[in-house]
């Protein structure tokens, strides 16, 4: 590697729809250094990192990383074995149900490491990060800081030359943050050649980096060492320097935040009074015996890492969550789930944006005004006031999703203060907002507190915001560590800054001796094996298959869907879809009442298909009883029927059917035809009919394959066909799309795993699941529906295996063009069920289809599998007779795999 640049960008632009993420950026990042990219959310930091890591497709310009062009697939393939990429978000490249050990192990397998190598590396990484004690804990149950350490372990498993970290410490407490950077430092000390590229929104931690790139609005506004940036702007800290670097028109919007003293309190009840508040979720105590009092008009800050219980405390104060123990009082009144008066006194702003994206800014404000019951005549005035005060008028008809984060936060605040509450509860209101917008936000908060006496209770990660609070509370692992004014706390601890003070408290709570040297004496990881470039590596395929299986086994909803779903549906189909027409409600309208007419009625009532109902006495009753459904077939015998019959006057007998269900009526008609013939035969045999039997041909009907002519015998093979396309296809489609949704798809994009290994690896577990369901279905059909294998068992099993490969492949094919799980579920269900039910021989034999319907049927696997199930379960066919179907099913399995392989993108658009 040449020493000058780890990566170079040349006139790179990138856009998402109409939004420009990177605008003609040219940049050279020095090699072997700790490079920080700084700037608020949405300025293009993540896009830049993703392009360098090779996980995003380059739209315009050239990106060179590790001495190669990242637009070339061959270089990317080689480079990704040397680059480690940690995506944004807490533990986005982790699998929450997998343990710490299993997560790292999976990443090791992705790089084709043998078990001895993996073990040695994992041991070294776990001891370096102090995660060794938690190796069996599922990643989803780790704290934010631990998640990020684990993510880092996963990224470092292959000793990368370039480590790319996208906001690794966002939402992590200062102690863990410090530990994280110490860890990076010790790794760099051991491998000085390794370059680190970090994006961050925390200006204070950026001052530790060796080289900084400041970004705004998709462009680079400055780069250089932190000292150079400070010198260039003449500012004391990076945050001020960053603001100074912004273009002039943005800077002009900035006004410094001026703190004003709080007017003295009146002697009333405190705004918030929490006493021994505790909240448990199962065995986990999220909030443990928390007490504090907040005076009216005070700005009270809550500091702590993600998951330390801040949000839970806030939810208990708003009444969103009941407390497990302890009490909370707002303005002297206990917080209760149904106390509407307290709610009117509180404005709440949750951590994530939580207003309606489908309503415009104005509609959101109106809705809240109405729901808080502002007098109708005051609403327009109040909204106009807020639109001006929070500078929302230009966007009043826009939908929030199209607005930048800073404006969204202003809107949330406007909504929260709309009903003039005496208290605001704000959960991380400025997270991800740029410094200028943040300062503007704070000026409003100070106005609210000082001018209107609003009590403000807020949580934050930013130390400079904490310093602006009247008092703060430090929280960790559900407990409050300290409460006081920022100055008091710093003084009490003898710390240099609030951050140091907080870290000190955290370290004490966690029992860590901060003076101990960072652990550098761990076993050096084994020598790096030359990166193997293999087109196909069964170990990587196995890594995906193994991990998918573990995840699946730990997800109750998916496992229930894939195993219990088919069983329930098979029973429902078997019992519910029946073409046997029996127990038809029959009644006679006998206007003759002769022996002959009663004889005719007997012919009906003695049939097993009909269940006799009371006689009908009038035409009106006949209509009425049909209408109510209490009669489905009626025979109307005319007056003088017997006499006419005797006199050979050929009487008319009318038979009425309920035509509401045509299929049932058709079948009934068949029964009646048969009955009539029998009755006439009997007539002649009894000698009532004196004429000799006429010329007739007897039709001897033989029902093949299903002598009892029971619907269930014919339906079971079709149901197996239907269920083994629906469930496996949906499952395998969801498996891929899930990774897109949770973000773990990044592991596929940033590691050497190939598309084929990824697809087949993720497909295998679902073929296995499909085979298990098949066994269950076969057992149900044998023991509950009494349908057993009459033909070649081998043909059935092999055919099912091929079919499962084809249907799971079909699901994967759909997953390549669906982005959300819900779309994948419904699209796959519709695309598999409609042809399977209508065009594959389930209801109508394929031989009776023509044109498009036939082509659709034969163009998908179910129509080729149905003959396999029917053939082996009903017709007793041999393996050879089903040979062609096996070949076609194999073809489908391969075809879907190839198509998915072509359509799946290794890089994000």
């Amino acid at each position: 590697m040449t020493a000058e640049a780890a990566a170079r960008l040349d006139r790179v632009s990138h856009r998402y729809g109409d939004t420009v993420a990177l605008d003609d950026v040219s940049l050279s990042l020095p090699a072997g250094r700790m490079v920080g990219i700084i700037g608020p959310d949405g300025v293009g930091k993540s896009t830049l990192l993703a392009l360098v890591a090779g996980v995003r497709r380059i739209q315009q310009g050239r990106v060179l990383a590790l001495d190669g062009d990242m637009a070339e697939a061959r270089h990317r393939g080689a480079a990704c074995a040397r680059i480690a990429y940690m995506p944004q978000g807490l533990g986005r490249n982790l699998y929450p149900t997998l343990s710490v050990l299993e997560n790292i192990d999976f990443h090791g397998r992705l790089f084709g490491q043998g078990s001895a190598e993996r073990r040695a590396r994992i041991t070294a990484l776990l001891s370096a990060t102090g995660l060794g004690a938690f190796e069996d804990r599922p990643a989803g149950k780790l704290s934010g800081g631990m998640k990020q350490k684990l993510s880092l372990c996963c990224a470092l498993i292959h000793d990368p030359d370039l480590l790319i970290l996208d906001e690794p410490t966002t939402g992590v407490d200062p102690l863990s943050r410090g530990q994280f950077w110490d860890l990076i430092g010790s790794i760099r000390a051991r491998r000085p050649g390794m370059g680190v590229l970090v994006a961050t929104a925390y200006m204070d931690e950026a001052s530790r980096f060796e080289w900084l790139v400041a970004m705004d609005g998709g462009t680079v506004i400055a780069s250089g060492t932190p000292a150079e940036l400070l010198a260039k702007t003449g500012k004391p800290d990076l945050e001020a320097a960053f603001i100074a670097l912004l273009p002039a028109e943005k800077q002009s919007q900035h006004q410094p935040v001026v703190l004003r003293p709080r007017p003295p309190e009146h002697g009333t009840a405190p705004a918030i009074e929490a006493e021994h508040l505790t909240r448990r979720f199962g065995s986990f105590t999220a909030v443990d015996d928390v007490s504090f009092r907040i005076g009216r008009g005070e700005i009270f800050g809550f500091l702590g890492s993600n998951g330390c219980g801040k949000s839970t405390v806030m939810k208990m104060l708003t009444g969103l969550l009941p407390a497990s123990a302890g009490t909370a009082r707002l303005f002297g009144r206990p917080v209760g789930g149904t106390d509407m008066e307290t709610r009117r006194n509180v404005g709440y702003m949750s951590q994530a944006f939580s207003l309606y994206n489908e309503l415009t800014v104005l509609q959101n404000l109106e809705l809240h005004a109405q729901l808080y019951h502002l007098p109708p005549q005051d609403i327009p005035v109040r909204i106009a006031e807020l639109l001006d005060r929070y500078e929302l008028r230009p966007v009043s008809h826009a939908h929030p999703e199209s607005l930048p984060l800073g404006i969204k936060q202003r809107l949330q605040l406007a909504v929260a203060v709309l009903h003039r509450p005496a208290m605001l509860i704000l959960d991380e209101p400025t997270s991800g907002v740029d410094p200028i917008a943040r300062d503007a936000f704070w000026r409003t908060l100070i106005d609210l507190s000082r001018n209107e006496g609003v009590t403000i209770f807020l949580s934050t990660h930013f130390m400079n915001e904490a310093e602006r609070c009247d008092r703060i509370s430090l929280m960790h692992a559900g407990k409050v560590l300290a409460v006081g004014t920022p100055a008091e706390l710093v003084r009490a601890r003898g710390s240099a800054s609030l951050e140091d003070c907080f870290i000190d408290y955290l370290a004490e709570a966690a029992g860590i001796d901060r003076q101990a040297p960072a652990e550098t004496t761990t076993n050096p990881p084994p020598a790096r094996i030359a990166p193997h470039r293999r087109g196909f590596d069964p170990r990587r395929l196995w890594a995906y298959a193994r991990r998918e299986t573990m995840e699946l086994l730990r997800d109750p909803i998916r496992i229930a869907f894939s195993l219990i779903g088919p069983v329930m549906l098979m029973l429902a189909f078997g019992y519910g879809i029946s073409f046997d027409v029996e127990n038809l409600r029959f009644a006679a309208f006998d206007q003759d009442n002769s022996p002959e007419s009663r004889h005719l009625i007997d012919a009906f009532t003695s049939s097993r298909y009909f269940s006799a109902q009371p006689l009908i006495h009038s035409q009106g009753e006949l209509d009425q009883r049909f209408r109510s459904g209490s009669v489905q077939i009626a025979v109307e015998i005319p007056p003088r029927f017997g006499a006419d019959l005797q006199a050979r006057r050929v009487p008319d007998v009318a038979i009425w059917l309920d035509g509401a269900m045509p299929f049932r009526a058709e079948t009934t008609r068949g029964y009646v035809t048969g009955l009539a013939t029998q009755y006439l035969d009997q007539l002649s045999r009894d000698g009532r009919e004196t004429r000799s039997a006429g010329a007739s041909v007897n039709v001897e009907t033989r029902f093949r394959y299903n002598q009892a002519f029971k619907s269930v015998n014919a339906m079971v093979p079709g149901i197996i066909m239907l269920l083994l396309v629906l469930i496996p296809a949906v499952m395998s489609a969801v498996a891929v799309v899930r990774e897109k949704e949770t973000g773990s798809i990044a592991n596929f994009r940033s590691t050497p795993v190939t598309k084929l290994e990824f697809l087949v690896g993720k497909q295998l577990p679902y073929i296995g699941i499909a085979m298990i369901s098949f066994v269950l279905l076969a057992l149900i059909s044998r023991f509950i529906f009494d349908v057993s294998v009459k033909g070649s068992l081998l043909a059935l099993v092999l055919g099912t295996l091929l079919y499962a490969a084809a249907t799971t492949g079909f699901g994967q094919l759909i997953s390549t063009f669906t982005r959300t799980q819900v779309a994948a579920v419904f699209a796959t269900a519709l695309l598999s069920v409609i042809p399977a039910v209508n065009f594959s021989g389930l209801l109508v034999p394929v031989s009776s289809l023509s044109g498009g319907a036939r082509l659709i049927g034969l163009g998908l696997p179910p129509a080729w599998y149905q003959p396999v199930t029917t053939g082996t379960l009903a017709k007793g066919l041999s393996f050879l007779e089903l040979g062609p179907n096996m070949l076609v099913l194999t073809g489908f399995a391969l075809l879907f795999l190839i198509l998915s392989q072509i359509l799946l993108r290794k890089q994000e658009a």
Binding site: E358, W656, R704
Partner: protein, 393 residues
């Protein structure tokens, strides 16, 4: 006296203002829900498509009645009679008849190419003419359940007809001591589209009400807006009632339009009963299944899980409702279970009564009563879950 009257008049406005507060909240939330639905093009498309084009396509393209039956003929007689019968098996009921040698029969039926094989034995015509018992064999592939039974009856009656014609031509005696006339009520020509189209409307009501309501709740949970609603001076019941009412309303309007525009007008299927009565019942039913949607929405935590949960539940409800195949065909114990657990069979019974048979309130009140009872149970359970999940977790 005056005091009491004064107290009463003081209570009434208070009560009225409470009630109007709650009702006002629900109305505002309903408007919000409707706006949300309007802003979701995928859902809107799904509703419109399911109630229009999908009904049209399924009703006009996938006939349940036997059609295009495949018949093979083994003609060992090669007489006028056998040829006359074979040529009477004509489209659209039958596909072009295939002539088979006796040895080809098994292969043709095993592969599923041919469903019916008619075997005319040697001497068939001779036997008939000489008055000896004459018989033909009809082999039926009984795995083709929708065709086998009815197809066999059609073939038998065509044979009987042709034999009668043949006999008439040769002046043989004909037997007919009485004339049997069969008439179908409500659907004289037994057209399957009359049945399918209405069934589709009924099924769509279940399907879309559950999906729409469940998705509305999950969307709020995923976006966190439900928290926002809960900190406002609103009761959980108001929030849930608004969701149920708004989504039920959308379905009610869509179903009504679909019946009038698609079923009656586009497909030309007559609706026997009162549309107003049907819509009343549908409204009641929509409340019950919307509550089910809420229930599922509280069990699943993401849209993906909701989909996995909803598909089997909806399929079960639909299959066991008696909407596609008659309730009487199910085992009796299952009929009881389904009718106790699910509102769908009651709605199906109600809807079929009104729409197919023109039943009025004096006839369909029992299923309506059952709907109301089950609906309140569903609503109560869903509300309890809704409170529990949103507050307790």
């Amino acid at each position: 006296m005056t005091q009491i009257a004064g107290a009463a008049s003081a209570v009434t406005p208070l009560f009225r203002s409470r009630f109007s507060t709650h009702a006002g909240n629900v109305v505002r939330l309903v408007i919000k829900e409707l706006r949300s639905i309007r802003a979701d093009p995928v859902m809107l498309f799904l509703v419109i498509y399911a109630f229009s084009l999908a009904i049209y396509m399924v009703s006009s393209n996938v006939p349940m009645e036997a059609r295009d039956l495949t018949v093979g003929v083994v003609d060992e007689d090669r007489s006028d009679l056998s040829r006359q019968i074979a040529s009477a098996l004509r489209p659209p009921l039958f596909k072009q008849v295939v002539s088979l040698a006796p040895a080809e029969v098994d292969a043709a039926m095993n592969s599923g190419r041919i469903v019916f094989v008619l075997d005319f034995p040697p001497q068939l015509q001779m036997d008939l003419l000489s008055g000896r018992p004459a018989a033909v064999q009809l082999e039926v592939d009984a795995t083709a359940m929708t065709q086998a039974g009815n197809g066999a009856v059609y073939i038998q009656s065509i044979i009987a007809q042709e034999v009668a014609k043949f006999a008439a031509g040769r002046d043989l005696p004909i037997s007919a001591p009485m004339q049997v006339v069969m008439r179908a009520k409500f659907n004289p020509n037994l057209e399957s589209s009359w049945f399918t189209s209405v069934t589709q409307v009924i099924n769509n009501i279940t399907l879309l009400t559950v999906i729409l309501t469940g998705a509305a709740l999950i969307r709020e949970r995923e976006q966190g807006t439900v928290e926002h609603l809960l900190v406002m001076p609103l009761l959980p019941i108001e929030i849930m009632l608004a969701k149920v009412a708004a989504n039920g309303l959308v379905i009610l309007v869509a179903a009504g339009l679909s019946l009038v525009l698609v079923v009656e007008w586009w497909l030309g299927v007559p609706i026997a009963g009162s549309l107003a009565l049907f819509l009343v019942g549908t409204g009641l039913y929509a409340l019950a299944v919307a509550a089910l949607g809420i229930l599922l929405g509280t069990i699943a935590s993401s849209m993906g899980q909701f989909g996995l949960l909803a598909i089997p539940v909806l399929l079960l409800m639909q299959l066991l409702s008696g909407s596609s195949t008659p309730m009487e065909s199910m085992p009796v114990w299952l009929q009881y279970v389904v009718q106790i657990v699910s509102p769908t069979p009651h709605f199906v019974a109600f809807a079929q009564g009104v729409l197919y048979r023109g039943a009025d309130l004096t006839i369909v009140w029992p299923p309506l009563l059952a709907l109301a009872a089950l609906g309140s149970v569903y609503f109560t359970v869903a509300l309890a879950r809704f409170r529990n999940v949103i507050f307790g977790d």
